[in-house]
Structure formats: structure tokens, C-alpha cells
């Protein structure tokens, strides 16, 4: 569970930074404000998660933002608005699905934070879904779908292979209540249904595990 929690916190810190970079350049003023608000939420979730690590005996910097267990996708700025929304849907989506599996966690400090994080993530999901519908109806549709496929390569792998040792152990001890394959399928099915409602069929890439770094929970193409 230590690597999962560390990577959750590091990814939320990185996602907050990537969201913040769009707070002055989103396509609408409302979305620029939303990007800033979501960035603030993510940084708050990250900062609030590092003390959980400390409780697990990991020497974590409570101010966070220094960890390197983040998706390679978040190493650099999100290159365009399609990539932003793809991250909003899939990176935020995978991390939030994991947090949802911690609501009844035997790791009490994680359970105590999970409900608050889920409360705040509701608006992130609404933002991502609204923009997904909009992009599917516009001329950027194909480029958006391509970004979703690219983003899935990273976000979909965060949960690790089906027999991921860390998640399997966490499931056995009750630290999470849903296994990795089930979490991944929830996100995949939600995205496919979301796009299907707009008449867009998306086939997400099959995930293979060459290039998977279990210690940092990231995949490098």
C-alpha cells in the first residue's frame, strides 16, 4: 500500500501542477477558472495524503510535491486542451476510482480522507464529462479520441497488471476493497459509455507490461 499511496499523492501533486498551467489559457473563461479550482483541489488532496504515508512509516515530506512516483504523462505540460480533458477524465478518473476503493479501508487515515476527496472530485468528473460531450460534437473529435487513447496507455496502467503484488496485498489486508482489474474496468466502461452516448466508438488499447516500472507505478513507451 505504501507505493500506491505515495504514487497517489505524487500524481495528484503533478496533476495539480498540470491543471494549473491551463488556468490562464483554457478555451473559455469558465474553464480557466475550473482549471484553477481543480488544481487547488488536487494540490490539497496531495498535501493531505502525504501524512498517511508518514503513518505507514515512510519518511514523506508533508509538503509533498517532491516525489517521483508519477505517470510519465505528467512529467511535462499537457500539450493541448484535448490532452487536458483526457487527463481530467482518465488520470483523475483512475485515481478517484482507487480512492473510492479506500472509503472502507482498514488503513483508517486513508479511509478518513477518501470521502472528502470523493466529495471534491464530483465537480472534476462533471467538468470532464461536459467537455467530452462538447469535443465529441466538434471538429476536434478525432484528435480528442487520439488523446484519450494515448492517455489510457498511462492512466490505465497505473493500477498495474492484473496480478499486481501491491494491489493484491492491499486487497487481502482490506486496505482497498476492489481489485485492480475491476477498478480499471469501471473506468474503461464509463468512458466507452460516455462517448457512445455521443455516437463515438472508442477502442482503448490493450495494455502490455514491457516498460512498466512497479516501484514508480509508471509506464514509459
Amino acid at each position: 500500500m505504501k507505493t500506491l499511496v505515495a504514487s497517489l499523492a505524487d500524481n495528484k501533486a503533478a496533476l495539480g501542477r498540470r491543471y494549473a498551467e491551463w488556468a490562464v489559457s483554457a478555451p473559455t473563461l469558465e474553464s480557466a477558472v475550473a482549471a484553477a479550482a481543480m488544481a487547488q483541489d488536487e494540490l490539497g488532496h496531495s498535501r493531505s495524503t502525504y501524512p498517511v504515508l508518514k503513518g505507514l512509516g515512510v519518511d514523506a515530506n508533508e509538503d509533498g510535491f517532491g516525489g517521483d512516483k508519477r505517470l510519465a504523462l505528467l512529467d511535462d505540460e499537457l500539450p493541448d486542451w484535448n490532452a487536458f480533458i483526457a487527463a481530467n477524465l482518465l488520470v483523475d478518473g483512475v485515481l478517484t476510482t482507487f480512492v473510492a476503493s479506500c472509503v472502507d479501508s482498514s488503513l483508517e487515515p486513508m479511509a478518513a480522507r477518501a470521502r472528502k476527496i470523493l466529495q471534491e472530485e464530483g465537480s472534476h468528473r462533471a467538468h470532464g464529462e461536459a467537455w467530452a460531450r462538447r469535443l465529441c460534437r466538434g471538429e476536434d473529435r478525432d484528435a480528442f479520441v487520439a488523446r484519450l487513447r494515448e492517455t489510457w496507455e498511462h492512466a490505465g496502467r497505473w493500477l498495474g497488471p492484473d496480478d499486481d503484488a501491491e494491489l493484491t496485498a492491499a486487497l487481502q489486508t482490506g486496505e482497498v476493497t476492489r481489485d485492480g482489474p475491476a477498478q480499471r474496468e469501471l473506468v474503461r466502461a464509463w468512458l466507452v459509455d460516455l462517448l457512445a452516448a455521443e455516437g463515438v466508438a472508442i477502442e482503448l488499447p490493450e495494455l502490455t507490461w514491457e516498460g512498466w516500472d512497479a516501484d514508480r507505478r509508471r509506464w514509459q513507451a
Binding site: 483541489d41 493531505s48 472528502k116 476527496i117 466529495q119
Partner: protein, 103 residues
């Protein structure tokens, strides 16, 4: 009046820096206990990314240390229970409406 009751009363003088409503009326104070000069206070925030976290904790500590029986204030930030608008005290809602804030 118990010491704890007096501490709750004192904190009605500490306002949220973003809204002129006390931290008590905003429902941010989850619990206060007192023993031999030490206050243990559980505090929550409206949002995990609240930018005023440090200011609010400083203001709470500073106000409680002005009470005659208080030598130390230990603050623990908690996220359970999850803060919702329902935790805003009824007497604060009128003031918030006057300020144009939906409560």
C-alpha cells in the same frame, strides 16, 4: 461554565478569513477537549485545498492562548466527518444571505 464551553465561546471571535463568519459557526471546529492547560482541538476545512489553512490555525491558537487556563494548543486537522453546508450553524445563515452567499 466549563473550560471547554468557554473555549468554544472564545472561538466565536475567530472568523474565517474569506467570510466574516466565525470558525465555530462555519462548522469547522469538530471537537475541543481540555486537560491541565492543554487544549486538543480537532479542526476541519471546507476544502482540502483551502488556501487559508495556516492562517485559520494560527488565529485559533492565538485566541485560545489568551485564555487564562491555556498553556498549549494542539490542533489536529481531520477530514471525517466530511464538511458540508449542513454544518453551517443556523444563526450564521442569515448573515451569509445578507452577504450574498448561498448557505
Amino acid at each position: 461554565m466549563t473550560v471547554e464551553a468557554r473555549l468554544w465561546e472564545a472561538l466565536t471571535e475567530v472568523e474565517d478569513p474569506e467570510i466574516p463568519i466565525s470558525v465555530v459557526h462555519m462548522g469547522l471546529i469538530v471537537a475541543i477537549s481540555y486537560d491541565a492547560g492543554v487544549v486538543d482541538l480537532k479542526l476541519t476545512f471546507t476544502a482540502m485545498g483551502c488556501p487559508a489553512m495556516d492562517f485559520i490555525q494560527d488565529d485559533i491558537r492565538e485566541r485560545l492562548l489568551r485564555e487564562p487556563d491555556v498553556e498549549r494548543v494542539d490542533i489536529e486537522v481531520v477530514w471525517n466527518p466530511v464538511w458540508t453546508r449542513k454544518m453551517i450553524r443556523e444563526e450564521a445563515r442569515g448573515r451569509m444571505r445578507e452577504l450574498g452567499i448561498v448557505a
